[in-house]
């Protein structure tokens, strides 16, 4: 069952923020993630980890918002890490070029 969850953050002393994406990365969830990422970047975070372990579906709006996060991170000299990607999500990001701008773990 697809459910939307609020992203969660876990900060540590090395200026890394972990943001957990929900199960469906659409406009609503994407905007929450983007808002949270911007807050973290503005507060000096240099490494943004987006955890996709719960994410089953990512639509075009979700992709576009992730591109915005990548763009914002570049402007803040920060790195974006995509973690726990499912195979189909990874294929989608490869196909659209997102993986060229992030580190996959």
């Amino acid at each position: 069952m697809i459910r939307e969850t609020s992203p969660e953050t876990n900060d540590d002393a090395t200026a890394t923020a972990v943001i957990t994406a929900g199960d469906y990365l659409n406009k609503l969830a994407g905007e929450s993630i983007e808002r949270l990422c911007r807050e973290k970047l503005d507060s000096g975070v240099k490494r943004l980890v987006v955890d996709f372990s719960e994410t089953e579906i990512i639509n075009s709006i979700g992709v576009s918002i992730l591109l915005d996060v990548i763009d914002s991170a570049k402007k803040h000299d920060a790195k974006v890490v995509f973690a726990e990607l499912r195979e189909d999500s990874r294929e989608l990001f490869d196909m659209l070029g997102l993986t060229k701008h992030v580190t996959i773990v």
């Binding site: 075009s60 709006i61 576009s64 591109l67 989608l92 997102l98």
Partner: protein, 419 residues
């Protein structure tokens, strides 16, 4: 093509979502913002913007932007040549690299190059430019392929339709507002004309100066007490203002006779309701009963009125209302042959004649309005303004009104309530 299949499936999904977004008629700004996300997310486009075209200013005004930063112009001007070329291009993407010759790309080359804008898609609906999409480089860093450009153009048509729909709605709203103002102007003109007529009627009769205006105001008070709609109240007031318009054709010496007029003069005077009807009938009134009020405002429930001796149900309701207002004013103003009657007498007269001359529920409404004002429950002191403070403060008036109201029971069997 086979290896491009997942990309196509993803892009078509975005196209379907875009169609739904445009059809949903959500908030326009939000629709455009979502559309830009869908186009960008469909093909992994790093940055871009959607602008609406203003034909009059010949400007592209940004509605939504992604990643273009604060220094990208929010409004971009086109010259006639740009406009002509964009139209000639149709709904096809223009590759910036091969269109440098156009004045538009020369004027904005710094901004366009700084943001890596690679494609400009004019949004053309029914041979008119409605907007444009600016699209930057893809996240893959690869150039746009032919089929990707086709997908972008297909999505552009949806975005163009959304903008064209919005433009159309704005035009409809503008025209509706224009019509509303015209209607208000017409209504004001109509009211002014009605009041001018009432003043003209009243000028003819030096003894009952202001009679038509007062009857208009009393009619309005009764209609308000009956909880009629604003339009109906306005109609009642208009009927009151114009009820005596037929008197314009009656000789001044008869109207102003300082004695009780004889039978011949009376017959002449009694023609005024029918004449009034003839005058008012050809005019297209916003309120249909106005001519009928003029014609029948001297009819009585018991059939002893004129010109046709109609009985209760045969008399238009508005005429019954104006009849009461007219009679009340006749009783409460000085006439050449008779001084005005004390307030208590007038109330008593109305009570006694309820069901004979007057519709009882109208008498009740009228008295209730008067009592409310005396009790201080009315917003305006309209009776006091029309009758004078002293008259309204006559001793025992409140008691007389209460007693009359207690006695009166609207006889619904006799009268029709609906206006």
């Amino acid at each position: 093509m086979i290896e491009q299949q997942p990309k196509l499936i993803h892009a078509f999904g975005a196209l379907a979502e875009l169609g739904q977004e445009v059809a949903n008629k959500n908030n326009f700004q939000e629709t455009i913002r979502t559309s830009l996300h869908l186009v960008s997310g469909a093909l992994g486009i790093m940055r871009g913007g959607v602008a609406r075209y203003s034909r009059f200013g010949r400007e592209l005004n940004m509605l939504a932007v992604r990643g273009l930063g604060d220094d990208f112009p929010l409004s971009l001007s086109l010259c006639m040549e740009d406009e002509r070329q964009f139209l000639a291009n149709g709904l096809n993407a223009i590759e910036v690299a091969s269109a440098r010759v156009l004045p538009f790309f020369q004027v904005y080359s710094v901004s366009i190059d700084a943001k890596g804008i690679e494609l400009l898609v004019p949004l053309i609906i029914r041979d008119e430019i409605v907007g444009a999409m600016f699209l930057g480089e893809k996240a893959t860093g690869e150039p746009y392929s032919t089929y990707e450009i086709e997908i972008i153009c297909a999505m552009g048509r949806h975005v163009g339709v959304a903008i064209a729909q919005r433009n159309l709605m704005a035009e409809i709203e503008r025209r509706a507002e224009e019509n509303r103002k015209l209607f208000d102007d017409l209504r004001t003109t109509y009211h002014d004309t009605v009041k001018a007529f009432a003043a003209a009627i009243d000028c003819k009769d030096k003894y009952t100066e202001g009679h038509s205006v007062r009857v208009g105001k009393y009619s309005e008070i009764i209609a308000n007490e009956l909880d009629w709609t604003a339009d109906q109240v306005e109609g009642a007031a208009t009927a009151g203002y114009l009820h005596d318009v037929g008197k314009l054709t009656v000789e001044r010496k008869i109207i102003n006779a300082p004695y009780r007029i004889n039978a011949k003069e009376s017959a002449e005077l009694n023609k005024h309701p029918a004449v009034g009807f003839e005058i008012l009938q050809p005019i297209h009134h916003p309120f249909t009963d106005v001519p009928l009020a003029a014609k029948y405002h001297h009819e009585r429930l018991d059939g002893r009125g004129y010109p046709d001796g109609l009985i209760d149900r045969e008399i238009p309701y508005i005429a019954k209302l104006v009849n009461l207002a007219d009679s009340f004013d006749a009783m409460t103003t000085d006439r050449p042959y008779k001084a005005r009657r004390p307030a208590g007498d007038v109330i008593d007269d109305m009570r006694r004649n309820a069901g004979q001359q007057f519709a009882p529920e109208l008498v009740v409404a009228f008295m209730r309005g008067m009592l409310r004002e005396l009790a201080g429950d009315a917003k305006e002191k309209r009776f006091r303004r029309l009758l004078g403070r002293e008259y309204m403060e006559a001793e025992g008036l409140t008691t007389t009104l209460r007693s009359a109201l207690n006695e009166l029971r609207p006889t619904s069997e006799m009268t029709r309530i609906d206006p």
